[in-house]
Symmetry: C2
Subunit: 296 residues, 2 copies
């Protein structure tokens, strides 16, 4: 919780204002922020079939920028809009009766959030920017009326909400059935895949969230997360240096259920390192070249 956090209602006007006037105090990030997106861009972002018939440039959706640590919406705040991530990283959290945070998701490019507000007309969760963010505002009222005109849009909405539900179900399943190691492994895999989709390296990336936030998301303590990452490093599945993660053996991460007993770990690590260093002693499995940061 940084002291710079401000309720979203205040923020929004403040930031819109800054954007509209192309404030000169920008740091280079806000300047390249788009101000409006049309329907096609929006559908592309959401990875849903684009409404072909709709080329109208009249339907434009406004962007907003948030800085690291700022709150997009809080629990109990009146719901009026959904948000789509254009760039940046966020977390959504639930706060329990004792003020403990429970991380629900880490929205990033192409993700929709705020859906939980539809039912009660109030957001039931809180969204916080983990980095500087560029979001697209989707005023719910405007959206539904738009849906009356364009069928595809309505379907798109159902589809995205359904996708969210499936995601949550997968989460429940993971929390209910998998070991700590398997959870962390899958978390890394899904991050890696998301980064790949976004055009970043899937082999080397920085975590945008703390160990505490990861732990909360995975139903673990921060110590367990840290220890598990260290263990993965030890057996040569990944490299870890603070927030920087290097993926070495994604297949093992994908299928991992339980860690091998620690007695056999040193051998493992040595083997993996040889493979990673391309000094193969025997037939090398394909796709073991991890040190390529550049892509798309």
């Amino acid at each position: 919780m940084t002291p710079t956090q401000t309720p979203a209602t205040e923020l929004r006007t403040e930031i819109n204002h800054a954007s509209i006037h192309s404030s000169s105090a920008d740091n280079g990030w806000q300047r390249q922020g788009k101000l409006w997106s049309n329907l096609k861009e929006l559908c592309d972002l959401l990875r849903i079939p684009v409404a072909s018939s709709v080329n109208d440039e009249e339907f434009l959706f406004q962007h907003v920028q948030f800085k690291t640590g700022q709150r997009i919406h809080t629990i109990g705040q009146t719901f009026d809009a959904l948000y789509i991530v254009h760039s940046g990283f966020l977390k959504t959290v639930l706060i329990d009766e004792f003020g403990n945070e429970q991380v629900l998701s880490f929205p990033m490019k192409g993700d929709l959030f705020g859906v939980d507000g539809i039912h009660t007309k109030r957001y039931s969760s809180e969204a916080v920017a983990l980095s500087n963010c560029d979001l697209i505002i989707l005023p719910f009222k405007k959206f539904t009326t738009l849906g009356r005109v364009h069928v595809e849009l309505e379907h798109a909405m159902y589809s995205v909400m359904s996708r969210e539900l499936v995601r949550e179900q997968a989460m429940v399943s993971m929390l209910g059935a998998l070991s700590a190691e398997a959870r962390v492994a899958r978390f890394l895999v899904s991050l890696s895949e998301r980064f790949a989709e976004m055009g970043y390296s899937s082999k080397l990336f920085n975590l945008r969230m703390t160990r505490h936030e990861i732990g909360s998301y995975l139903g673990l303590t921060l110590e367990t997360v840290s220890r598990t990452l260290s263990a993965f490093n030890e057996i040569g599945l990944i490299t870890v240096d603070q927030r920087s993660i290097g993926i070495i053996d994604i297949d093992s991460l994908r299928t991992l259920r339980r860690l091998p007993p620690s007695s056999s770990r040193s051998k493992q690590a040595a083997r993996k390192l040889r493979e990673a260093g391309l000094m193969q002693t025997k037939v090398p499995p394909p796709n073991k070249d991890w040190d390529q940061v550049a892509s798309a």
Copy 2:
């Protein structure tokens, strides 16, 4: 898995046929099953503001009956309809790569399920009847076209889907943060509340699911569930006899976070039993005798 299970597609025609002809082979349950519901009945069931303008009796939705153990839909099956529970109890499950079931929900009267199929046009979960059930079929195509004419209906759909999402979020939060005892306690409370809503007793009811299914739902083993129920019984919060549960102290269940040390249990149990029997010997301390939160 009873051998009487049949894929839903076959079942549906089979059972409709039986219903339409009021088959004489019915056992008293199927005979009282309704065949059609109108829009108002449907909205009432879903606990959403009824579409007032729509009194048209032309929009009718068909009922289907399923018997205990029958499958309503399976994973991968083509999605075409949503289901609303008119009566009976079900479970929805995910099956992992090794065939292990993960229970996701226990739909009962007024609940909607099948939503997870919208996104990929295939159901991502499986729904099984835990008792004889009367369901209302909501063909998705028919529903969306209907939504074009009646705005309220569309909103209702968004609302219900949003509600489901919030429910899943609460589930994630519970699995991520609460102890085994707290999970079981909350499970009992929510069941009690649901039974009350349905007009049944909130104090005495039968579980429709096995310990294994409860455990899967709560992310616990069946032994832990059984032990926890026994412990609750021991300290006088509930009575347990196989599937029959009697709720004695719902407030304690609601606020329970951890069980008192077993050494002090016998005293507790004695006290609760006296209270339940209305023969209180002295003023009971107001909810601070062990680790539980102050009631909101």
